[in-house]
Amino acid sequence: MTKQALLQKFAPAMRPLAGIAAGLAVAAIIMLCSGYHPVAAFAAMWTGATGLEAGPATSDTMIRLGSGHINLFLLAQTLAKITPLLFTGTAIAVGLRAGLFNIGAQGQMLMGALFAAGVGALGKHSAAGDGSINPGLHVLLVLVAGAAAGALWGALSGVLKAYRGVHEVISTIMLNFAALDIIQYLVTHNMKDDAPGSMSAQSPLMAQTAWLWPYVHGSNLTAGILLAIISTFAAALFIGRTSTGLQIRAVGLSPDTARASGIDVRRITVLTMALSGAIAGLAGAVEVMGIHHRYVAGVAGTAGFDGIAVALLGNLSGPGVALSALFFGALASGSGYMETTTNVPAPISEIVQAVVILLVGIKAAIRFRRPGTKAERKETHGISG
C-alpha cells in the first residue's frame, strides 16, 4: 500500500483521534490549574481502565504479567461500563444512517429495562429469586421483551415522523420524559415491589433464571458484553450488506432519490426507529439482568445520551462504534478509579467527553441534518463540466 492510500484509509479516524487528544489535553490543563498532577491522574485512569498494575498478584482475580499483574476486577468493570455504550452507540448510529437523530435511546433503554424486569419476574417462586422457567428460555424471553419494548417506543417516534411530520428529535425527547413518568407510575403501583422492607420505587426481584451472572466475582461483567458486541456487528452487517440496509442508507443520504427509486421512505423511517429502539431496549434489558435484577431508578445511567457521543465519535461504522465505546467506557471506568486513588474528581472525564463531542460530534450532527456535505458538493463541482 502506498503512503497516500494508507493515509486515505485512515483519514476518517484522524478527526476522532485529534478530538480525543484535544480532550485529554484540556483535561490535563484543567488538572494543572486546579493543582492536581495530570501524569499521576492519567496513570491512575489507565490502571483503572485496563487493570494493569505494578507489583505482584495478591488475589485470585489478579494475573501475573511480567513484573506486574492484571487486576481482572478492574478490567471487568471497564468492560461492564462499555456494554451499555456499545448498545446505545449502535442504536444511535443505526438511526443516523437513515438520517434520524434518535435522542430517545435513553427512554427506549428505560422501557426495555422495565419490560425485561417485568418478564424476568415471571415464574419466581421464592423471595430469593428461585424460578421455574428454563433459564435459557427465560433469558431469551427477557431479551425479547426488552428489545420489543424499546422497538415499540422507538417506532412511535418513527410513525410520528413518517405520517405526521413530527421531527424525531422533538418526539424522542418528549418520549424520554413520557417513559420516565410511565415507569415511575408503574413501579409505584402495578409493578411495585411488594417484598417486605422494600421502600423505594422499584419492581420486584427477577427470577434467577433470568439473571446474567458475573464473569469475575463481584464485578458487573456478564455475557451482556458478548450480546453487545454481536449487536454492534450484526447491525453493521445489516446496514452494509442487506438490501434493507441499503434502503436505510439511501433514505439517510438522499430521501428524494430513495423515494424516486421506489423505496418506501415512511416504512424505512418506522423500521429504522424500531430497530434503533430495539437495540437501546436490549441495553436496558442487559443492565437489569446482569446488575440490578429488577427495575430501579437510574438503571440506565446516562447511557442513552452517552451513546450519541459514541456513535458520532465512531463515525457511525461498526468498528468505529466499538472503538469509541471502548474509549468512553474506559474513560468512565478509569476516572472512577482515578478519583478513589488520586483524589482528582471523576467528572474530569466529562470534560474530556465534552471536548470530544464539540470537536467531533457537532460537525457530524450538522452533516446529518443537511443532505450533501460541503466536501461532497465541492468534489462534485470539481470534475463535472
Binding site: R241, T242, S243, T244, G245, L246, Q247, R249, A250, L253, S254, D256, T257, A258, R259, A260, S261, G262, I263, D264, G372, E376, R377, E379, T380, H381, G382, I383, S384, G385
Partner: protein, 548 residues
C-alpha cells in the same frame, strides 16, 4: 499548446482583463485541467465550451478562487498583473472584481432578495445594524439600470422563479462591483425565452463595460452572442477563436475531436433522424398508458395540473413542452407515483393490450414492477446518491431483485459484475476508477448515463424521462437521444418532459403542450414547429389538437 488558431488573439497583455496561462489542476484520480490557457479581452463576451468533464467548471472555479491550480503550474493575471498564488478564495477574487453565477444557484431560500444580495458584503451601522435603506437604494438602482422590474426586493428568494433567481445572482455580483462576470452554464435550466432575455441582459452589461465569461455547451449560444470562444476537450485546450472567424461545425469538431457520427445527431446539427416517427402505427393500437382528467396539487398546495388527459402508445415518444412551472413536474411525478392525484385516473395496458389496469393509487415500487421507469429531473437530488458507489446507484430500485445482486443480502459480486457490464455497455467514463467509485466523482454526463441505464435495464414498458439532457454537453446529449430512440424502437412508450424545445421537436412523434397546468394541445410531429408549439406554450392560442 498553441493558442494561435486562426487569427489568434494578439499577445499584447494590455488588452486582457483576465489571463489564465498554462493552468494545470488535478483532483485525486483525474486531471481536470492540463496546461490550459484562457485569455479574456477587456469588455469581451467570452465563451468557454466543451463536453462534460472537459474541465470548464474547474477552470471557472480557479478564476473565482475556489480552486487553486497545482503549484508551479501556470500563471494567473488580472489587468495584466500577476496574481498567481493570491487568488486563494472567492473573497479574494471578488475583491479583484470577479463575480460568479454558479451552475447551482447559491441563494439562501429563506432570505429576502435584498438580504441575499448584500450577504457577505453587508454595510452596517455601529452596533451591527444593517444599513438596509442604503443597500436597497443601491440595489434598486442596479436593477433599474439593468431593466429588471418585477422582482420584489423583499420577497423571499425561494419564491422567485429560477430565471429570476439567476438575475438576482447577477445583481449580487454587480453589487460587489464585479468587472468580470463569470457564468457557469447559465441557460441550463431556462426556457428559451428566458435564455434570450438573459443574454439580452448580459449584452447590455457588456455594452456598459462589464466583461462576460460564460461556460456552455450550447453552440447556438456561442455563435449568437460571444465575441471569442475557447474550446476545451478532456481537460486540454482544443482551440481558441474569434467567434466571427469560426463556424459551428469547426467548434463541434474541436469539442468532440472528430466529426459527429451520423447515427447520433446532436441537437445543434441538422441531420437525418434515424428511426422516423411512428404516428400512424401508434394510432392503430390501443394506448399503453392512459391519463384521464388528472388534477394534481403541487408541493405548496396550489393546483398545479387541471384535468389533464393524455394517451401514450407503445413505440412512440411523446414530448411534453411548456414553460417551466406549467405543471410538467407534477404531472410526471404523478405518473411515476410520487404524487397523488386529486382526481382522475391513470391506467396501464396489460402486456397483450387487451385489458388495462388502474394504477392511480399504486406505489412507486409497484409501478416500477408494472413497467414504469423514471429518469428524474434533478440528477443530484433525486436521480442518484452521490455518496453511493456506481454499483449501488445502479442497483437502486432493484435492491430486492436477486438478478441484480439484491435480495435479503446484497450480492456484491453480482452487483459489481452488472455494474461493470453497464459501464461498458453505456460507455461510462471512469478514468482510473472502478464500479466501486463514488458516483459523485463522475462527471454529469456519466452520472446521467448511470441513471438512464438503471431505468432502461429494468426492461420497462413506459419511460418517463424528465429533462434528461439538463446540464449535459453535446456528446452526452446525443447519447441520451440515442438511448431514447432505441427505447422507442424497442417498443417502449416514452414521455419526454423537457424545457428544451429543440429537443422536444427533434425527438417527439407527438408533442403535448402544457400551459398553466393544462394540456392545451397535442400536435403530431408534422405540425409541431417552434412556432406552433411556442404559441401554445405561451397560451397565445387555444389548443388546435384536443388532447387525445
Amino acid at each position: 499548446m498553441t493558442t494561435a488558431e486562426n487569427s489568434g488573439p494578439n499577445q499584447n497583455s494590455e488588452d486582457y482583463i483576465v489571463e489564465l496561462l498554462g493552468i494545470t489542476k488535478s483532483f485525486p484520480g483525474i486531471v481536470a485541467n492540463s496546461d490550459v490557457t484562457l485569455r479574456v479581452k477587456r469588455g469581451g463576451f467570452h465563451a468557454v465550451i466543451g463536453e462534460n468533464g472537459a474541465g470548464k467548471s474547474t477552470l471557472l472555479n480557479i478564476l473565482y478562487g475556489r480552486y487553486q491550480p497545482d503549484s508551479g503550474c501556470g500563471e494567473i493575471r488580472i489587468n495584466g498583473e500577476s496574481v498567481t498564488g493570491k487568488l486563494t478564495s472567492p473573497a479574494q477574487s471578488i475583491k479583484m472584481g470577479i463575480g460568479l453565477v454558479s451552475q447551482h444557484y447559491a441563494l439562501i431560500p429563506a432570505l429576502s432578495v435584498i438580504e441575499n444580495v448584500i450577504l457577505g458584503s453587508e454595510q452596517v451601522l455601529p452596533g451591527g445594524v444593517l444599513k438596509r435603506k442604503e443597500a436597497s437604494g443601491e440595489i434598486a438602482q442596479i436593477m433599474s439600470h439593468l431593466g429588471l422590474t418585477g422582482i420584489d426586493l423583499n420577497m423571499r428568494a425561494e419564491r422567485l422563479s429560477v430565471a429570476a433567481q439567476q438575475k438576482v445572482e447577477i445583481v449580487k455580483a454587480l453589487y460587489r462591483k464585479a468587472r468580470v462576470l463569470l457564468l457557469d452554464e447559465p441557460t441550463a435550466v431556462l426556457a428559451p425565452a428566458e435564455a434570450e432575455s438573459l443574454f439580452a441582459l448580459l449584452q447590455s452589461l457588456q455594452r456598459a463595460g462589464t466583461t462576460v465569461v460564460f461556460v456552455t455547451h450550447k453552440l447556438r449560444e456561442v455563435m449568437a452572442y460571444s465575441s471569442a470562444v475557447t474550446v476545451l476537450r478532456g481537460g486540454k485546450l482544443a482551440g481558441d477563436f474569434i467567434t466571427a472567424n469560426t463556424s459551428r461545425e469547426e467548434l463541434l469538431e474541436r469539442m468532440i475531436g472528430t466529426r459527429p457520427p451520423a447515427a447520433s445527431p446532436s441537437p445543434d446539427i441538422e441531420s437525418e433522424i434515424t428511426g422516423g416517427p411512428m404516428v400512424e402505427a401508434a394510432s392503430e393500437r390501443r394506448p399503453l398508458l392512459k391519463i384521464q382528467g388528472a388534477t394534481i396539487f403541487g408541493s405548496r398546495g396550489a393546483k398545479a395540473v387541471t384535468d389533464a388527459s393524455l394517451e401514450l402508445f407503445a413505440g412512440e415518444i411523446v414530448g411534453i413542452a411548456g414553460v417551466d412551472g406549467s405543471g410538467q413536474k407534477e404531472l410526471s411525478e404523478a405518473i411515476v407515483g410520487l404524487r397523488t392525484l386529486k382526481s382522475g385516473t391513470i391506467r396501464l395496458a396489460s402486456c397483450d393490450f387487451l385489458s388495462e389496469s388502474e394504477i392511480t393509487r399504486d406505489s412507486v415500487r409497484r409501478r416500477q414492477k408494472l413497467g414504469i421507469a423514471y429518469i428524474p429531473e434533478d440528477r443530484h437530488r433525486a436521480g442518484m446518491i452521490l455518496n453511493f458507489s456506481i454499483g449501488e446507484n445502479y442497483l437502486l430500485g432493484h435492491e430486492k431483485d436477486r438478478a441484480w445482486g439484491g435480495g435479503v443480502f446484497l450480492n456484491r459480486a453480482t452487483i459489481g459484475a452488472r455494474a461493470g457490464e453497464m459501464i461498458t455497455g453505456y460507455d461510462v467514463r471512469l478514468g482510473t476508477r472502478t464500479a466501486d467509485a463514488r458516483a459523485g466523482d463522475l462527471s454529469g454526463g456519466n452520472q446521467q448515463k448511470v441513471v438512464i441505464a438503471r431505468a432502461l435495464d429494468g426492461q420497462p414498458r413506459v419511460l418517463v424521462a424528465c429533462q434528461p439532457t439538463r446540464g449535459l454537453d453535446t456528446g452526452a446529449s446525443g447519447f441520451v437521444y440515442e438511448a431514447l430512440r432505441k427505447a422507442r424502437a424497442a417498443g417502449m412508450g416514452v414521455l419526454l418532459f423537457s424545457l428544451d424545445l429543440d429537443e422536444v421537436l427533434e425527438l417527439s412523434d407527438r408533442v403535448a403542450v402544457m400551459f398553466n397546468g393544462q394540456i392545451v394541445g397535442v400536435l403530431p410531429h408534422s405540425e409541431a414547429t417552434a412556432e406552433t408549439v411556442g404559441a401554445l406554450m405561451t397560451g397565445a392560442t387555444a389548443g388546435s389538437g384536443a388532447a387525445r
